[in-house]
Protein backbone atom coordinates (compact mmCIF):
# COMPACT_ATOMS: atom_id res chain seq x y z
CA UNK A 1 0.00 0.00 0.00
CA UNK A 2 1.48 3.32 -1.03
CA UNK A 3 1.26 6.37 1.15
CA UNK A 4 -1.68 8.77 1.03
CA UNK A 5 -2.01 12.11 2.77
CA UNK A 6 -4.81 14.54 3.38
CA UNK A 7 -4.61 17.79 5.30
CA UNK A 8 -7.14 19.80 7.27
CA UNK A 9 -7.08 22.88 9.48
CA UNK A 10 -8.03 22.82 13.16
CA UNK A 11 -7.72 26.11 15.10
CA UNK A 12 -4.83 27.31 12.99
CA UNK A 13 -3.01 23.99 13.10
CA UNK A 14 -2.60 21.82 10.01
CA UNK A 15 -3.35 18.17 10.64
CA UNK A 16 -1.82 15.91 8.00
CA UNK A 17 -3.56 12.54 8.01
CA UNK A 18 -1.12 9.97 6.65
CA UNK A 19 -1.89 6.39 5.72
CA UNK A 20 0.06 3.51 4.24
CA UNK A 21 3.83 3.18 4.20
CA UNK A 22 6.54 5.81 4.54
CA UNK A 23 9.40 4.08 2.78
CA UNK A 24 12.15 4.80 0.30
CA UNK A 25 10.65 6.10 -2.92
CA UNK A 26 7.12 7.35 -3.31
CA UNK A 27 6.10 7.38 0.35
CA UNK A 28 9.06 9.51 1.43
CA UNK A 29 8.63 11.86 -1.53
CA UNK A 30 4.94 12.41 -0.79
CA UNK A 31 5.68 13.31 2.81
CA UNK A 32 8.52 15.64 1.80
CA UNK A 33 6.43 17.42 -0.82
CA UNK A 34 3.47 17.77 1.53
CA UNK A 35 5.49 19.40 4.30
CA UNK A 36 7.34 21.69 1.89
CA UNK A 37 4.05 22.73 0.32
CA UNK A 38 2.53 23.54 3.71
CA UNK A 39 5.54 25.56 4.79
CA UNK A 40 5.58 27.37 1.46
CA UNK A 41 2.01 28.46 2.09
CA UNK A 42 2.86 29.72 5.56
CA UNK A 43 1.39 26.80 7.50
CA UNK A 44 4.00 26.37 10.21
CA UNK A 45 2.02 24.53 12.87
CA UNK A 46 1.94 20.98 11.61
CA UNK A 47 0.75 17.72 13.12
CA UNK A 48 1.48 14.47 11.30
CA UNK A 49 -1.29 12.04 12.19
CA UNK A 50 0.36 8.63 11.75
CA UNK A 51 -2.57 6.57 13.00
CA UNK A 52 -2.88 4.68 9.73
CA UNK A 53 0.82 4.42 8.94
CA UNK A 54 1.63 0.76 9.35
CA UNK A 55 5.23 0.70 8.15
CA UNK A 56 8.21 3.04 8.15
CA UNK A 57 11.73 2.09 7.02
CA UNK A 58 14.99 3.92 7.71
CA UNK A 59 14.36 6.24 4.76
CA UNK A 60 10.93 7.07 6.15
CA UNK A 61 12.46 7.76 9.56
CA UNK A 62 14.93 10.06 7.83
CA UNK A 63 12.06 11.83 6.12
CA UNK A 64 10.31 12.41 9.44
CA UNK A 65 13.53 13.88 10.82
CA UNK A 66 13.89 16.05 7.72
CA UNK A 67 10.30 17.29 8.04
CA UNK A 68 10.91 18.09 11.71
CA UNK A 69 14.14 20.03 11.13
CA UNK A 70 12.89 21.79 8.00
CA UNK A 71 9.82 23.02 9.85
CA UNK A 72 11.87 24.08 12.85
CA UNK A 73 14.38 25.93 10.67
CA UNK A 74 11.53 27.93 9.19
CA UNK A 75 10.27 28.98 12.60
CA UNK A 76 7.54 26.38 12.81
CA UNK A 77 6.73 23.30 14.83
CA UNK A 78 6.00 19.77 13.69
CA UNK A 79 4.52 17.18 16.03
CA UNK A 80 3.55 13.55 15.69
CA UNK A 81 0.15 12.16 16.58
CA UNK A 82 -1.28 8.67 17.15
CA UNK A 83 1.74 6.45 16.58
CA UNK A 84 1.09 2.79 15.93
CA UNK A 85 2.99 0.36 18.13
CA UNK A 86 5.42 -0.45 15.30
CA UNK A 87 6.23 3.19 14.63
CA UNK A 88 6.43 3.95 18.34
CA UNK A 89 8.89 1.08 18.82
CA UNK A 90 11.02 2.33 15.92
CA UNK A 91 11.21 5.82 17.38
CA UNK A 92 12.11 4.35 20.76
CA UNK A 93 15.01 2.22 19.54
CA UNK A 94 16.38 5.05 17.39
CA UNK A 95 16.06 7.45 20.36
CA UNK A 96 13.98 9.78 18.22
CA UNK A 97 11.09 9.57 20.66
CA UNK A 98 13.03 12.08 22.72
CA UNK A 99 13.40 14.40 19.74
CA UNK A 100 9.84 14.51 18.47
CA UNK A 101 6.92 15.93 20.38
CA UNK A 102 4.59 12.93 20.28
CA UNK A 103 0.90 13.26 21.14
CA UNK A 104 -1.80 10.66 21.48
CA UNK A 105 -4.91 12.75 21.06
CA UNK A 106 -5.67 15.41 18.52
CA UNK A 107 -7.21 17.98 20.84
CA UNK A 108 -4.17 18.15 23.10
CA UNK A 109 -1.89 18.17 20.07
CA UNK A 110 -3.69 21.24 18.70
CA UNK A 111 -3.71 22.98 22.08
CA UNK A 112 -0.02 22.36 22.61
CA UNK A 113 1.03 24.87 19.96
CA UNK A 114 1.97 28.28 21.28
Amino acid sequence: MTMKVGSRQVDGVTIVDCSGRITLGEGSVILRDTVRDLLGKGNKKIVLNLQDVNYIDSSGIGELVSAFTTTKNQGGELKLLNLTKKVNDLLQITKLYTVFDVKDDEASAVKSFK
Binding site: T23, L24, G25, D57, S58, S59, I61, G62, E63, V65, S66, F68, T69, K86, L90, I93, T94, K95, L96, V99
Partner: protein, 150 residues
Protein backbone atom coordinates in the same frame (compact mmCIF):
# COMPACT_ATOMS: atom_id res chain seq x y z
CA UNK B 1 15.51 -18.22 -9.13
CA UNK B 2 17.30 -21.32 -7.90
CA UNK B 3 15.79 -23.49 -5.22
CA UNK B 4 16.78 -26.46 -3.14
CA UNK B 5 14.88 -27.93 -0.24
CA UNK B 6 16.67 -25.74 2.27
CA UNK B 7 17.81 -22.80 0.20
CA UNK B 8 16.27 -20.41 -2.28
CA UNK B 9 18.13 -17.65 -4.09
CA UNK B 10 17.22 -14.81 -6.43
CA UNK B 11 19.20 -12.59 -8.77
CA UNK B 12 17.62 -9.17 -8.88
CA UNK B 13 18.07 -5.84 -10.66
CA UNK B 14 19.40 -2.76 -8.92
CA UNK B 15 16.04 -1.05 -8.67
CA UNK B 16 13.48 0.20 -6.17
CA UNK B 17 11.26 -2.72 -7.18
CA UNK B 18 13.96 -5.10 -5.93
CA UNK B 19 13.74 -3.55 -2.46
CA UNK B 20 9.99 -4.12 -2.24
CA UNK B 21 10.37 -7.58 -3.74
CA UNK B 22 13.07 -8.55 -1.24
CA UNK B 23 10.89 -7.43 1.63
CA UNK B 24 7.89 -9.37 0.30
CA UNK B 25 9.95 -12.53 -0.14
CA UNK B 26 11.34 -12.22 3.38
CA UNK B 27 7.86 -11.74 4.83
CA UNK B 28 6.51 -14.78 3.00
CA UNK B 29 9.42 -17.08 3.83
CA UNK B 30 9.55 -16.04 7.49
CA UNK B 31 5.83 -16.71 7.78
CA UNK B 32 6.19 -20.10 6.09
CA UNK B 33 8.92 -21.00 8.58
CA UNK B 34 6.63 -20.25 11.49
CA UNK B 35 8.19 -17.10 12.92
CA UNK B 36 5.87 -14.97 15.05
CA UNK B 37 4.31 -11.75 13.83
CA UNK B 38 6.87 -9.48 15.47
CA UNK B 39 9.77 -11.60 14.23
CA UNK B 40 8.37 -11.59 10.69
CA UNK B 41 8.25 -7.80 10.80
CA UNK B 42 11.81 -7.66 12.11
CA UNK B 43 13.12 -10.04 9.45
CA UNK B 44 11.30 -8.28 6.61
CA UNK B 45 12.49 -4.88 7.74
CA UNK B 46 16.09 -6.06 8.11
CA UNK B 47 15.99 -7.54 4.61
CA UNK B 48 14.48 -4.35 3.26
CA UNK B 49 17.30 -2.30 4.82
CA UNK B 50 19.88 -4.73 3.45
CA UNK B 51 18.36 -4.47 0.00
CA UNK B 52 18.36 -0.68 0.23
CA UNK B 53 22.07 -0.76 1.01
CA UNK B 54 22.77 -3.12 -1.88
CA UNK B 55 20.72 -1.24 -4.47
CA UNK B 56 21.54 2.33 -3.45
CA UNK B 57 24.90 2.34 -1.73
CA UNK B 58 26.42 -0.78 -3.28
CA UNK B 59 25.28 -0.95 -6.88
CA UNK B 60 24.11 2.68 -7.03
CA UNK B 61 21.18 1.65 -9.27
CA UNK B 62 23.63 0.52 -11.99
CA UNK B 63 21.61 -1.48 -14.55
CA UNK B 64 24.50 -3.87 -15.24
CA UNK B 65 24.93 -4.79 -11.57
CA UNK B 66 22.82 -7.36 -9.79
CA UNK B 67 21.74 -8.05 -6.24
CA UNK B 68 21.78 -11.66 -5.08
CA UNK B 69 19.35 -12.53 -2.31
CA UNK B 70 19.37 -15.96 -0.68
CA UNK B 71 17.33 -17.51 2.13
CA UNK B 72 18.62 -20.65 3.83
CA UNK B 73 16.87 -22.60 6.53
CA UNK B 74 18.99 -24.66 8.88
CA UNK B 75 17.56 -26.56 11.80
CA UNK B 76 18.06 -23.63 14.09
CA UNK B 77 17.96 -20.48 12.05
CA UNK B 78 16.98 -18.55 8.96
CA UNK B 79 20.11 -17.29 7.22
CA UNK B 80 19.69 -14.50 4.68
CA UNK B 81 22.51 -13.40 2.41
CA UNK B 82 22.42 -10.23 0.31
CA UNK B 83 25.27 -9.53 -2.10
CA UNK B 84 25.87 -6.53 -4.29
CA UNK B 85 28.50 -5.79 -6.95
CA UNK B 86 29.51 -2.36 -5.72
CA UNK B 87 32.89 -1.06 -4.58
CA UNK B 88 32.59 -2.59 -1.10
CA UNK B 89 31.22 -0.87 1.98
CA UNK B 90 33.66 1.13 4.08
CA UNK B 91 32.93 -0.21 7.55
CA UNK B 92 34.87 2.62 9.18
CA UNK B 93 32.27 5.08 7.89
CA UNK B 94 29.23 3.51 9.51
CA UNK B 95 27.97 6.11 11.99
CA UNK B 96 26.41 5.50 15.38
CA UNK B 97 22.91 6.87 14.81
CA UNK B 98 22.30 7.11 18.55
CA UNK B 99 25.16 9.56 19.11
CA UNK B 100 23.73 12.98 19.99
CA UNK B 101 25.43 14.58 16.99
CA UNK B 102 23.78 12.04 14.67
CA UNK B 103 20.25 11.94 16.07
CA UNK B 104 18.94 14.50 13.59
CA UNK B 105 20.70 13.06 10.57
CA UNK B 106 18.34 11.93 7.84
CA UNK B 107 20.25 8.75 6.98
CA UNK B 108 22.58 6.18 8.54
CA UNK B 109 20.09 4.04 10.48
CA UNK B 110 19.81 1.01 8.19
CA UNK B 111 22.58 -1.15 9.63
CA UNK B 112 21.59 -0.13 13.15
CA UNK B 113 18.03 -1.35 12.51
CA UNK B 114 19.33 -4.62 11.05
CA UNK B 115 21.44 -5.17 14.14
CA UNK B 116 18.47 -4.35 16.36
CA UNK B 117 16.18 -6.83 14.64
CA UNK B 118 18.44 -9.80 13.82
CA UNK B 119 20.46 -12.11 16.05
CA UNK B 120 23.57 -11.90 13.87
CA UNK B 121 24.60 -9.32 11.27
CA UNK B 122 27.84 -9.86 9.37
CA UNK B 123 29.14 -7.46 6.74
CA UNK B 124 31.94 -8.56 4.46
CA UNK B 125 33.09 -5.90 2.02
CA UNK B 126 35.47 -6.64 -0.83
CA UNK B 127 36.48 -5.05 -4.11
CA UNK B 128 33.89 -7.27 -5.82
CA UNK B 129 31.05 -6.05 -3.65
CA UNK B 130 29.60 -6.38 -0.19
CA UNK B 131 28.12 -9.52 1.32
CA UNK B 132 25.64 -9.08 4.11
CA UNK B 133 24.58 -12.03 6.21
CA UNK B 134 21.53 -11.79 8.47
CA UNK B 135 20.66 -14.59 10.88
CA UNK B 136 17.50 -15.04 12.91
CA UNK B 137 17.38 -17.99 15.23
CA UNK B 138 14.27 -20.08 15.47
CA UNK B 139 13.04 -19.71 18.99
CA UNK B 140 11.05 -22.41 20.71
CA UNK B 141 7.32 -21.88 21.14
CA UNK B 142 7.74 -21.04 24.81
CA UNK B 143 11.04 -19.22 24.54
CA UNK B 144 9.36 -15.92 23.88
CA UNK B 145 12.39 -13.89 23.03
CA UNK B 146 16.03 -13.47 22.41
CA UNK B 147 17.24 -15.62 25.30
CA UNK B 148 17.01 -18.71 23.11
CA UNK B 149 19.91 -20.18 21.18
CA UNK B 150 22.91 -18.10 20.20
Amino acid sequence: MAMTEQRVSYTLDSSLETIDSAEEKATRIAAELGFGEDEIMQISMAVREGAVNAVLHGNAYAPDKKVTLAFERTGEALIITIRDQGPGMDLSRIPNPLAPENLLKTSGRGIFLMRSFMDVVEIRPSSAGTELKLIKHVHGPTAGGKEASQ
